[in-house]
């Protein structure tokens, strides 16, 4: 464990762009089985924070302590327009590897069914609606086995069934000892979870004293 029993510990973390802080330093600790919700106004750096935790960016200040590489599902769904849903997911399963055992085709079908995209499995990525793309991008939650998940606005574009599906997957993950950090900009919040919250303040807000 990173420190004591935490999966992740963050101390005074911040990031600079154009020589000023994108957001005021944040600190928190995350235990197995917990869900951390990052809130804050638009542009206050929530995506930047997730990218820092994922390792795509280097911190300008502060420390991140974690044991293993987290799973990151960002704004962009990582779906090729020219490939079908099935081809897309099959590629990621082969590229990332999965601990699930069994024939690739069968596993692939299983995953597609769990995210509810079986009717469009053979359709090309460019024909999918925004909600279907979101579901497709969340497929990686089903076959990757990282314990820490970083989800950037995962509920956006999902219909009520999609939201229910995500909540189910999330509950199972937390129950199994995993943890999750998720961002939201207000209206879409996970229901029925025991939440930790971290509210971010952008560097601009601090300087001008205004709340966006």
């Amino acid at each position: 464990m990173a420190t004591d029993s935490h999966i992740l510990a963050v101390y005074d973390l911040s990031f600079e762009r154009y020589f000023e802080r994108v957001f005021e330093p944040v600190s928190f600790e995350l235990d197995p089985g917990s869900l951390l919700l990052i809130t804050g106004s638009n542009g206050c750096g929530k995506t930047t924070l997730l990218k820092l935790l994922a390792g795509l960016l280097e911190p300008s200040e502060g420390k991140i302590l974690m044991d293993e590489q987290p799973l990151y599902a960002g704004h962009f769904p990582a779906i090729k327009d020219d490939l079908s849903v099935e081809e897309n997911i099959r590629f990621w399963m082969k590229f990332m590897g999965t601990r699930k055992s069994g024939q690739m085709t069968g596993l692939c079908e299983q995953v597609i069914e769990e995210i509810g995209l079986t009717p469009v499995a053979l359709q090309e990525g460019r024909t999918l609606s925004a909600g279907q793309r979101k579901r497709c991008s969340l497929a990686r939650l089903l076959f990757c086995d990282e314990s820490l998940w970083l989800l950037d606005e995962p509920y956006s574009n999902l219909d009520p069934q999609g939201i229910g599906m995500l909540d189910q997957i999330l509950k199972a993950h937390l129950h199994a000892g995993g943890a999750c950090i998720m961002t939201t900009h207000g209206s879409l919040r996970p229901e029925g979870f025991d939440l930790q919250e971290c509210h971010m303040i952008s560097g601009r807000e601090r300087y001008t004293g205004a709340r966006a």
Binding site: E16, R17, Y18, F19, E20
Partner: protein
Amino acid sequence: MNPIYLFFHKTGSPPWFYNFSGKLIPWLWAGFFLLTGYGLYLGLLVAPADYQQGESVRIMYVHVPAAWMSMMIYGLMAIWGFIALVWRIRIMEVLIISSAPIGAAFTIIALVTGSLWGRPTWGTYWVWDARLTSELVLLFLYFGVIALYNSYDEPRKAARAASLMSIVGAVNLPIIHFSVVWWNTLHQGSSIGTSGSSIHPSMLWPLLYMAIAFKLYYGANLLSRARVRLLKQDHRKRWVKDLLSKETS
């Protein structure tokens, strides 16, 4: 603590760099003017004219040191670029970006003086001589780094991109230079240079003085540009505000 680490930490600190370079710059300018004066005096008046080319060979005293500088600066950019990428030291990034236009300027000076040098000998303003061609390709390498830097919005990311490009360019530079030299012999091209195999000592000294003088110029110009850039980058920070209030009081 490790004295080397402390050295880098101190020189990496913007206020320290600003103060130190401020003290150094006047000396660099003084040295530049003195050495240039003496070097040109020796080169233009004292040193002998060339057997075949006559007085026009004297342009060598500006052309050759300028060409040396153009290559040295690119090499420095690559070394600093490596340090900047690995250790993310902001001062290094500032030095690289401030050096690029100076290096490009020296390259242009080398090209123009080389062109003027060739005119009396070959009758045209341009020949595809090995060194001139090499300098031209080097100029494009400089333009590439500068254009790359300007294309990025965020300054630190831009500096890192410029650093990477400098390293890639510097690794290729010797290869480019040798291939151009070889290409030149292949096609029996004209060349611009002194006749005779070795340089007479009375020609060597002014050359060396001018070479050192140009290095001092580079130092003075580089530090001045770097200071301005640091002030702009840190304009919100305490040390700049203190500095400004001290200057205005």
